[in-house]
Symmetry: C4
Subunit: 504 residues, 4 copies
């Protein structure tokens, strides 16, 4: 975050100076009042060169901001390309076309329900969907392929029913537990999600503050909009954070990141293992297409390349060759407990135990990677009996994420044997709609639900939650009914209640 | 019900006298033509002080009426706070804002179907939904969280199918049975439901009369709008009532209530064990918010506190520490048979037998407490085989409630082994829409259905109903289908029948 | 059918003569140009006295016609009450109120699709629903209670899937079979359904002609609109008919009917055993209410009585005490094979074999009696393995009815072991919409489907159809999914395909 | 393709010459500028004579083109009936009535999304549905009876879920495999589908080119719009094609076709065994009716005959007597590997192995033949364990087709043991909407999905795909839920999220 590195320059650049570098042969852009020469960087840009060229010679701050941590230009662009401050008064204001969608959105923002009208985590999603920018909403909400897994993640919880116990003294209910040795108020953590600034200008640090207030752990994402250090800096004294890691092909880079995180006090390293390639999320792709559609109408071939390019670019950063043989090395470079995030069947959990890691997150990446991957909660129900049979249930900590929306979901996971659950999107939606207070209320609602529902299930303590309190017989049946009899439905008169008298 | 306690006062208060006490420092309200000083009571009010302050210095009768039994002020407010009669002619009439919703509702009331158009219990619900005040409807109809259990309660009956017997002489069909020794016409009782005056100005006594007419038992609710004694007084000579009990932290209060009920002739004590804390019902909360929304728009923080406050207040009245160790004490203070209402798994039924109680109600509180609690009928199917295996089936009486809408539902429960079923909301809806005649017709419809369906299943007597008459294989499968293939549905042309000729 | 019994009277009555008898003290009605004194009959009328009094002193032909066989008045009304011919020119024409519903219906009749646009049996239902009178449609289409069984009947076939065989020589496909010794073209018969004239002025004889044309058997209903003899008379030389029988309390009447049927050549006696009381069909009741609603608005109590009265009246005709002990008597009074229609579980099929009857129809009365009775096809799948285990499969003939709409449905039943299936409503709909040609086409469509689908399943002969050609694993699972997650659905954006360019 | 056979004729016919032959007694039609006398052919025309007579004496090119391969007239019409070239300038232009549907369609064509907006195979279907002619769409998209199997084909894949493996080195992913010895890029082939010119004027050769570009195999359909030789000619050097064969009653014809195909280089012979008679597809029939409806309004009887006639005509071409005893003969007349296309249960697969064929395609003909036939993928799950048990899994190659829309579907089939899958309709839709580039993009999308999803499931090579990577427990459950509780749904208020503020 060294925006001031060229401050010594006496003379500011003018808008006209920059505007001359408006082609792929010489491409400057303005970000936060400074000009950068990105000509050589164009072919390397993970998002493709086109999106940069759209701002060649212009101010790109608005587009740049939510997608990139503020230290990006310092980190990835040589200082020699930092061309200095720009006198922003001389930069021509782009006259934006009236966007009717945006106009409607602004209207919806004005009519937003007040925060107190949100009674559960779904409510934040309902509001966010109406008030977020379409592309931001699409990025957060989209999943892989037909989004079957995305929805199954929540739906799976609906297949688990309770067998509550009565006449248990539940005057005092203690929802707290520990995660990797850290005492937390309630068995959830804020899991890693990318690009927080799409939803809120302050990005992930809003979640840091919410996590502190409710004494839960935040997992810092590799692909945050804020820089790693900003998120660490936002932490209060004894607050605990974990690091989510996409492993870089260049292990030196990976090592540097891990060591830095440990130095900055991170208490757990969660290696993402379900994303050798980032998934195709068609809702997101469609939304982006619409966004820049007017500029690319003529060149039909371009779009294929661009999406391909993005995939390749990301593949070149995340290492698809990561394998079990790398685990010993990770164990050698850090003292942080190491957990594998994205394990999806019991065979791999057993292997993880044997490999000596400290835990796993049963997860399908929020339904954003492989469609028809099973939900974390279902895999949990497969995993725990096998672990218990071998007496291995205490050799690692098991977490799940995906689809958690209610405290009853958390209780179900803990009953089955999870130490806790990760929650991602709901907090993003709360943050996007209402900022910090939204996150605060979302967490408080979960706590209220947790306390009440532990009472109602007959447990005064998290340790009392156990598998006999659940009926999971319907959980693992992935079936669909026979396709609808459309002709038959067509001729059936549904029953209706009594008819009102005619209006006079 | 001692409204006349201050009648000796010669001089009536004027509206202006009362109007001066319109703040939290001095807060008087008028109820039924009398003024009360509730200043000191404000912080203790379970519904929060705000709702009272809204009426500070004014007539609160209309708001007070449906929520509180008439003896509330006598019981809970010291006589010194009873400020005397008010000359109602001097009280300024509040000019109510035109409420378009209410206007529409009045229109719907005018167009109500006549009673004879209701052919089943669902029909009353259809009418009630249209003609009840929104908040009253929301209170009655709401359930916990996502209302999954609320709906599962009825849906569970749909998973049980009949295996009827033919060529049985069913010329005479006897639907009568006994419950705790009382002979009743048909195996249902009117279960306890709160706040009857929300639906009808006379409240629970309307149900007392209906129960008498059809010779079924009424269970008197702790949280009735009418006072306990009013409901007892409405009873006819040999009519039987039971008492539903929320156990108070102060066992002396509880003892007093139980002894009073026994003295007044109650024949059964049903201790609610599924409500250590009253559930969150979001539909109800949303409706209340809307109701007083205009007054609280500015203070966003208030709402959280208020709902919290209500939860706490109710928790301080109902004892969340109630446990198995209390059962012997209950058995010692009354000769009434004792039943546990809200048992939800076979383990607890076995324990209830061992504890020596006389029966259990398998219930999830009408889906208003723990979402994803199983239906009573499903728990019944789990319980009875275990009891029979141990030869314990006659040691207690088993009842269920929740979701009963048809006589076939009653038959299913009795076939499985229940002595009878409790029915709550349907009678509230019948009463709310059509008053006493509605309740009468609702009960008569059940009797007609019962007689006919016993004929059709081939049983001339309740004792002939048995498990071999049912196919329950689909009952306990809590599954959901794979999430919809939205893209696929999007491109599939449903079949349609032959097309009409074009209109000329 | 002795309309001419009073023809010798020289002087005709005038409309004015009849109009004077317009009260319950003296009530005459005109039917087909003759006057009848029905005063004493009023309290006995199964449909209640009210409906007759509506026509007191007037011409009731239009209302009378579809509900009563033409010999009704001769059979049930003493000749002394036949008051003679009426000069219809002197009878005042009732000016009918303009009925907007009827106007719309007439418009739909004009726009009816031509017959060739009906490609399957559902299509006739689609047309009939639009062009039939509302009350007639309601009578035909309604079922018991929530109409769950009504729909399950067809839906059950959807749970049975094929395991077709390939490379079987199917050049010639023979769909014929025998039923009770009669050779028929295809394994279905026209089952008994009541009140054919509601759908078509000629009533059941339309079906007689269709059955002849396609060489299938017609089962004559007890409650036909045509008289039994009319339906027999409509039969051609070697055509075979069966009789469906509701057993009368007066066994002498029953005996007379059976003997008459045998004399007239009926080849099978199907005793209805699933209707000790006729079911409540709410759609039908609602439609009737609407029909005469304007006349009864004031007297709310009447309707209850009337429906009760109808139930009682019908109960007094059909004998609810009919039981297994009556079977030997039936076997003694006729040489016709005797079959029980409406058997619903394997225990009763075994008992039927032991009782010595010649067959059973596994049926739930088209879903019109007991809701949640299982479908005939499902009961068949329960019955046949047990019969085969005992070697009893050839001791009786098994039929099913209910929900058959496709030749594949017939094939499924025959594969499982049925001799054939009864089809009722579809032919009523075909007849109601298109008369005789409709029935003809409906039957031809079934034949075409049958031949084709036998080819496709790899059977050239009905005898080759066998259980290994089916997958019935999903058949007996009466389950419902977890209730919908309405909040969740509320916030999920379904996927959509590519968006069209904006309209210019 | 000998259009020039009469070119030596000096004088061209005039439109008037042809117009005189406009009845069934003398019927000439013009096709591609030449006149043909089809009088004697009328009764033999598989599509019925009516459709030809509509064009008697006129230019029939537009109607003829998509339905018939160009060599049809040469093959089936004696040269003596080729009446010579027509001076098209003298042929009267038919003034077409303005067709509002066609007008709307043209408008939709103008607004077609650009190709890059198609992100998956369903998207092409979405576009094709909007821009294809109604009759063409109906022909491609329709299925048998209620189209239950049609939809089940895709739906079945949704019941199979993944058990992906993590930490497998998937840097390089190889999606290639072999089919009947041919190396292909990805385990799918373009399966045979009829009448390609309905969708695109160039017909099946568009698919030939696409298959070449992506190195996959094309199966040439018997009922192509292009002639067999045209499709062979379109092949590039080392490209591989297979032949799909409907077996003709005249085995000499069949032999000639097979020998010709082998000579032209076909590498596999797929004998269709699921179509002894072509299925009734009602959507298709309805669409055709509408198309020519105005001409046949008066003659209601005609339509029945016509459809019957078509069925008979096709039956006389395809041999319904084809049986297992014919297999040795096929093996004797060709060296091409022989596969049976349309096998539907394990018993027939075993018999196929014993009969010595080289493979089978588990298929239900795209849901166009027998409704309630199971999906190929489900039959595959039934077949493979039995084959493996016998050690026969390598004695034949197993393919499936039907419902494949995603690379995950392909992966599922290969995991279960298929060598590959056939894909038909999706490429027709891509071709119909976007021509060659559409087919290209569709195939490329599958390749992209395949590579990505193999990475995500943890397989770098097709040979690593195995059954342990799947959860198929829900696959074979053909069940439907209990019919909807329509009355209940009617009275339930679905939950809704927070309400927006009122619009000002």
């Amino acid at each position: 975050m060294n925006h001031n590195s060229n401050d010594t320059q006496a003379v500011k650049l003018t808008g006209e100076d920059v505007a001359q570098h408006n082609s792929k042969d010489s491409c400057w852009v303005i970000v936060h009042g400074r000009a950068y020469d990105v000509t050589d960087f164009l072919p390397e840009h993970p998002g493709g060169s086109k999106i940069i060229l759209k701002y060649a010679g212009k101010d790109a701050t608005e587009e740049f901001e939510p997608i990139h941590p503020p230290d990006t230009l310092d980190k990835y662009l040589d200082k020699s390309k930092h061309m200095g401050e720009v006198d922003m008064g001389t930069v021509q204001q782009e006259v934006k076309e009236e966007d009717p969608d945006e106009h409607d959105r602004q209207d919806r923002v004005k009519r937003m329900p007040i925060l107190e009208q949100c009674y559960n985590l779904m409510d934040f999603e309902a509001v966010a969907r109406r008030v977020m920018k379409k592309t931001a909403w699409a990025y957060y909400s989209s999943g892989a392929d037909d989004e079957i897994t995305l929805r199954e993640n929540h739906s799976a919880f609906h297949k688990i029913w309770f067998r509550p116990r009565i006449l248990v003294d539940v005057e005092k209910v203690d929802t707290s537990t520990t995660m990797l040795g850290t005492k937390v108020d309630i068995p959830f953590y804020v899991t890693a999600t990318a690009l927080g600034k799409l939803g809120h200008p302050e990005g992930e640090v809003v979640l840091t503050k919410g996590a502190k207030k409710h004494n839960v752990i935040q997992m810092i994402p590799t692909l945050a909009s804020c820089s790693f250090d900003e998120i660490c800096d936002a932490r209060e004294a004894d607050q605990v954070q974990w690091l989510q890691l996409y492993v870089n092909k260049d292990r030196a880079v990976t090592k540097r990141i891990v060591e830095h995180a440990e130095k900055r006090g991170c208490k757990g390293l969660f290696i993402t293992v379900d994303a050798p390639q980032l998934g195709r999320r068609e809702k997101d792709m469609r939304s982006k297409f619409a966004d820049i559609g007017s500029n690319v109408q003529s060149s039909t071939g371009d779009d294929v390349d661009r999406s391909q390019g993005a995939a390749r670019a990301i593949s070149s950063f995340i290492d698809p060759s990561l394998s079990w043989k790398d685990i010993p090395w990770f164990l050698s470079i850090t003292k942080m407990p190491i957990l594998l995030k994205g394990v999806q069947c019991v065979e791999d959990v057993l292997r993880a135990v044997e490999a000596g890691v400290h835990g796993v997150v049963l997860s399908n990446h929020g339904g954003r990677q492989l469609d028809f991957a099973r939900s974390g909660i279902e895999v949990l129900a497969e995993v725990m009996p096998v672990l218990r049979e071998r007496g291995w249930q205490d050799r690692i900590e098991i977490y799940i994420d995906g689809g958690v929306r209610r405290a009853t979901d958390i209780i179900k996971a803990v009953c089955l044997g999870a130490k806790g659950v990760g929650i991602g999107r709901p907090f993003l939606y709360a943050m996007s709609a209402y900022g910090g207070p939204g996150v605060d209320r979302a967490m408080q609602l979960l706590k209220d639900e947790m306390e009440m529902n532990m009472r109602l299930i007959g447990a005064s303590d998290v340790s009392q939650l156990n598998p006999s309190m659940l009926d999971t017989r319907g959980l693992s049946m992935h079936t669909a009914t026979v396709p609808t009899d459309t002709l038959g439905l067509n001729v059936y008169d549904p029953l209706v209640g009594p008819k009102e008298k005619a209006k006079l």
